[in-house]
Symmetry: C2
Subunit: 360 residues, 2 copies
């Protein structure tokens, strides 16, 4: 067995010790005589798995008691509909469009009411986060929507928008658990887990209780009503049990690393290694405005498509994989999530230095 350094934007690298434990427990979880994949979601043993996962997540994010934690299916894409279907009482919402995912969320919301694009960074290929200190928030907006870390473009909000008292809804898929958050500033925080937390097929939504009501838009499916899942503690129907189990292990791993304060420090240190080199390189160039740089996703280019392709190919041969950038940005992208060790980033930078020398 030989593991690579995997810079995939998602699904993405997971902590090796989590995978090792999962492999060891595959045929017999904790003396139950069965795999977690084979357990009833209503069994005592699975109940302990999901309860422990929730408790550890609450602990990590310091989630206040008046917020529910839901383990859902359908990815962020399904949240794009669930959010307006559950929250659009006035049929008005404001969207800040800082990338492809925020844009898709904004487009989906238009099915259900007036979705205003109150700010955007599309003019410069989403390479920055706009000033959100004094936006034209709609007086009757049911919520203000953001995508907090933009996976494709490598930007992140450093301060949250001034919503002028409106509910903030945030997609944190690609920065989930990468640093502490103040949950009380949000109405809904949600993330697909497949970038920074676990395997694909699971979304975690953290929702302030007063936003969970039966008063949803007409025609909202039972499964797309937050209350359905909140009332049943995420066990209205069979959830993605194995995904919850793996996420639970990642939560334990994060606590062992020292929690989210420690992760933040570690992620800052890791990102600095790469950004410092990008700022000094004559060949490679970061594509994002420095003030908006993400700690998780780092896009960069040489400015020469052929050279970009050569880099990606040679990096792969050196065990540094999935560095090809998204087609809308081009070039390269290194996703350096929680589970990417600093040794992986150092190996990448060493390789970039060598490549720069060889291709000067």
């Amino acid at each position: 067995m030989s593991r690579v350094y995997n810079f995939s934007a998602g699904p993405a690298v997971l902590p090796e010790e989590v995978l090792k434990e999962a492999a060891e427990e595959m045929l017999d979880y904790n003396g139950s005589g069965m795999s977690v994949m084979e357990m009833s979601h209503r069994s005592k043993v699975f109940d302990e798995i999901i309860q422990t996962a929730e408790a550890d997540l609450r602990d990590l994010l310091k989630i206040p008691d008046n917020y529910k934690v839901l383990f859902l299916q359908g990815g962020a894409s399904q949240q794009f509909a669930m959010i307006p279907m559950n929250l659009m009482k006035n049929r008005v919402a404001d969207y800040i469009v800082t990338g492809q995912w925020a844009k898709k969320a904004w487009q989906e919301a238009q099915k259900y009411g007036t979705a205003n694009k109150i700010a955007s960074s599309e003019d410069k290929t989403f390479s920055y986060i706009p000033d959100c200190s004094d936006l034209p928030i709609s007086p009757d907006a049911d919520y203000v929507y953001i995508c907090e870390n933009n996976t494709i473009y490598g930007t992140k909000y450093k301060t949250l928008p001034n919503t002028k008292g409106k509910i903030l809804v945030s997609d944190v898929s690609s920065c989930f658990l990468s640093e502490p958050m103040d949950i009380e500033k949000y109405g809904i925080v949600y993330g697909g887990v497949q970038k920074n937390v676990g395997p694909a097929g699971l979304v975690i939504a953290i929702i302030r209780e007063d936003l969970i009501t039966e008063d949803v838009l007409p025609g909202t499916p039972t499964m797309l009503t937050y209350k359905t899942h909140a009332d049943a503690n995420s066990l209205y129907n069979t959830p993605n049990c194995y995904g919850i189990y793996i996420c639970g292990k990642v939560f334990k791993w994060l606590k062992k690393q020292g929690g989210l304060e420690a992760m933040k420090e570690r992620n800052e240190k890791k990102a600095k290694v790469l950004y410092d080199y990008l700022d000094s390189s004559k060949l490679f160039k970061g594509t994002v405005e420095p003030a908006s740089r993400s700690l998780m996703n780092v896009p960069f280019v040489t400015g020469d498509k052929e050279l970009d392709a050569k880099f990606v190919k040679e990096a792969e041969a050196a065990g540094l994989v999935n560095l090809k950038g998204h087609r809308t940005v081009g070039g390269m992208r290194a996703s350096i999530y929680n589970a990417m060790p600093i040794e992986g980033v150092e190996a990448l930078v060493e390789f970039m230095k060598k490549f720069e020398k060889e291709n000067a």
Copy 2:
């Protein structure tokens, strides 16, 4: 490690060799240097996983070319809404209610139009399948809906309803791949995989192409539109990749067992061991009308609640687990899906005989 005989109704027992392979490949799938959980769903290596899974499933079920295979999230419960949202052009559908899940599907459909209950077996606790040879099919029904195997009650359709030319939609969650099917008789066949195929969090829908259109009900979310997923070969957004991978392994395992004809034979043989004993026992009694008996789920009772509880407890101590029946039926239920070896059923019957002797 000591494995039990797991009679859970779902999530349920999986083939041991599938779990062993998954454990072995956990840190490095096929030389990729990463777990399947860590792979981009757009990567070449995952593409081969999903394509192979689909090809093997098509092979097993002999799925005609004019049917699409979709790997979806949200369980059968989400299909309860997706089906009317995508198929109810006239806003009318007919439901045959043979259990709790068919009933839930029928209730959900009422959100979207007129859902007629054209037959039911609720009068006798769903212990039989009604005669469906000449039902009052609605002239403008967009489809006729059935749940083909009723997990809780242990019944199965032995012949399909006469739909008088209307599209047949069938939930096959708990009999999926237990025997051959004639897919051409259906408009949609779908099943949550967590009973007979794989881990929870994945639904497979097999849909006739002409039923996949943009003409869905107003307000249908993009993610709940079959066309979204059909056009993108189930990769519109990140699917439950690990679930698809495990299902793919189960498909290979089924082919190795001789395919669905062989599975049918095996399942009939297994069920006969249990039913024959039930028919001869003076203590235990099957709860289902013999003509409607499922090969997959076998509920039985002693008629004495305390004795039932004693049986479940002692069986568990003997390594025969998850035999407690659903609260609406009471007593016991043995789910004997594809992956339950005949040795498990024989061990159960031996234990029942011993229990009968001791408690005569």
